[in-house]
């Protein structure tokens, strides 16, 4: 009798995790977990999970189900094959219902293929390459499970960049009495910068700015003295940056060391991080970049989210923490559709408009966020004396003034 009881108990224990797993919604958070990008992916996801589970979970057809996160280290910064293996593992072994995250465009393109092969909804929270969305338009049936939550795709990032650059150029014209400011383009040589570089060449002359040259260092370059010397010699007033790698720190630091009068603005992913000031040994003053989060009222959720994030993790969120929005978006659409079936959720995702922490989330035909003031544009920030100061869009409450080197 005792033997039968033991066998039954063992059977129940063995079955328990499976039964528990059936009661949860498994979301794989895929990112380079040893790096800031992955840390933010995970932190944003944890915040969303805890809030949702504390409130009772996600209602699926009337039944409440908790969120279970699976931490998947893609190691994508170092290896694209590692990233695809991680995605494969998340879907086939961990049996994730949904996948969120990703950072490096080259890796996310490869991971997108794996997710689409398995018909899994993949909400991107890191890669900007337009091809990810273009795939959806080109072959909807295969790629419809892909949606980009953050950041904007590269052409739309370009639109924000030019809007901000126009406003900085206005200040250059007024302060420096230069009718046609000279702009040097400094973009790392990777695929996400290609559209931005092309757009810069096309648009800057139309915006009455003179392009003095294009310099394309490697994203991992440790030295850009030659590039900066050439930019200095070209007499640039502004350095338009498109940098996601550590070269962003090198550029900032070496510009300060050379005491360049030009001001750097563009995308500098490293400058979005709290650690930028220390990484540049305090030489990152006046470096400006597009960003996603700040203590400004881009949406009603941004300030509470940023403060809660800082309180919990003792650092500011980067755009990868939009995994928070991705999970909340999933909650909204699952509750609306009453199912976790990917095929039924896709049309709901396409029609849903929701308020996120970084912007109003609404998707285009290519499943990219709709760009526009009042929708999603991102913000622009500038480092001023060790603080990241938001300065664009100027009409948003909490924005401050853009500064130039040499000003006090």
């Amino acid at each position: 009798m005792a033997r039968h009881f033991l066998i039954a108990a063992a059977g129940m224990l063995a079955a328990a995790p499976a039964a528990f797993a059936q009661g949860t919604i498994k979301i794989a958070v895929v990112g380079p977990m040893a790096f800031v990008q992955g840390e933010n992916h995970w932190a944003g996801a944890e915040m969303a999970r805890d809030e949702i589970n504390k409130a009772g979970g996600i209602s699926v057809g009337g039944k409440k189900r908790n969120i279970e996160l699976v931490r998947v280290d893609s190691n994508e910064i170092q290896s694209v094959p590692d990233a695809t293996n991680a995605m494969e593992r998340a879907i086939t072994r961990e049996k994730a219902d949904f996948v969120i995250g990703g950072f490096r465009s080259e890796a996310v393109l490869a991971m997108q293929e794996v997710a689409m092969d398995n018909k899994k909804i993949f909400l991107g929270c890191g890669a900007a390459d337009a091809k990810l969305g273009a795939n959806v338009e080109k072959n909807y049936e295969r790629y419809k499970y892909w949606f980009r939550v953050s950041p904007l795709n590269s052409p739309d990032l370009g639109r924000t960049l030019f809007a901000v650059l126009g406003s900085i150029a206005g200040q250059v014209r007024a302060d420096m009495k230069k009718e046609t400011p000279k702009v040097a383009i400094l973009a790392e040589k990777v695929i996400w910068t290609e559209a931005i570089v092309k757009a810069a060449h096309d648009n800057l002359p139309k915006m009455k700015m003179e392009v003095v040259g294009l310099w394309q260092p490697s994203p991992t370059a440790t030295d850009v003295t030659a590039e900066l010397a050439a930019i200095d010699r070209a007499g640039a007033d502004m350095v338009f940056t498109a940098l996601s790698g550590p070269v962003g720190i090198v550029v900032a630091r070496q510009m300060a060391e050379r005491k360049m009068h030009a001001v750097a603005f563009g995308i500098n992913v490293e400058a979005q991080k709290d650690g930028f000031w220390e990484a540049t040994a305090g030489k990152g003053n006046y470096v400006a970049t597009l960003d996603t989060y700040g203590e400004v009222e881009m949406t009603p959720l941004m300030i509470p989210f940023v403060r809660a994030f800082k309180e919990r993790f003792h650092k500011s969120p980067t755009y990868n923490a939009a995994t928070y929005d991705a999970i909340n978006l999933l909650k909204t659409v699952i509750e609306k559709a009453g199912t976790t079936d990917a095929n039924k959720l896709v049309p709901v995702l396409e029609q849903t408009q929701s308020v996120g922490t970084g912007g109003q989330l609404e998707f285009t035909k290519s499943h990219d966020p709709v760009w526009g003031i009042g929708k999603t544009t991102g913000i622009a920030v500038q480092w001023q004396n060790g603080r990241k100061v938001p300065f664009w869009p100027p009409q948003v409450k909490g924005m401050q003034k853009f500064g130039f080197p040499g000003q006090t």
Partner: protein, 289 residues
Amino acid sequence: MLQDILVTGLVNGSTYALLAIGFSLIFGVARIVNVAHTAFYMVAAYCLYTLLVQGGLGVPLSGALAVVSVTLLSVICYRLVIEPVRQHEAAVLIATIALALIFQETVLRIFGGSYLGVPSAIDGVAHLFGIAVPKQRLLILIVAGAMLAGTWVLLYRTRFGLAVRATANDLEVANLMGMNVNRVAMATVGISVALAAVAGVSVAPVFVVDPFMWLAPLVTVLSTVVIGGLGSIHGSVIGAMIIGYVEAITVFALPQGAFLKGAVALSMMVIVLLVRPEGLFGVAFEEER
């Protein structure tokens, strides 16, 4: 533009030379291709970061402690990892690759993948031929020169240097003459890694400190020593200057192809290998020995 190329090439070339001297020395003397050479340089940069930024010990003390610690680490690694397989060149190569990866992963676990910065030893900019050059970079130039001179004096003006050159010339004869060749090899490893550590400590304030910072210099160092002639100290310095100038010319003449500067440097290496497989100073070094 010419002044820009002259100054930028000189400063960057001196940084490469600082790394290449040690790499070449250890190969020339002990026939060890130490792939972990630039990993020691990375560890030295992290030691400096820990002691200077986190420990607040000041630049001279932090720098000295970093160099000494990494040198001791290299001697331990030599005894435990390299010496047991030293007779097998392929095994040494694999063992040093493993060492480098162990260092990388250890640093990644301890410090994470964030990019770190180290303050400059001297701030400000000096003007050379009308070109603004950060003083920290000039310091690297001076350190590289001093290290080169010091290495030359050590090898050619001391009894230890004589033992090192004798061991390099013929290991068996040196052994029969009563020299402790293992100890000479170990000391050479220590000196070579000390040079890498000095390079790490010198360049940390101008580069970004991260666990993968050893990979790009490794490629540059390999091309440098191959161009100069594997094992030739002064060949390495000249190779480093060639790479420095080729990179500077690439960036100034072809701004849109700045990312190609590494590829152009490697192409130079291939050309030198095709024209002169032993490198520019390979034969000269044989004669020196």
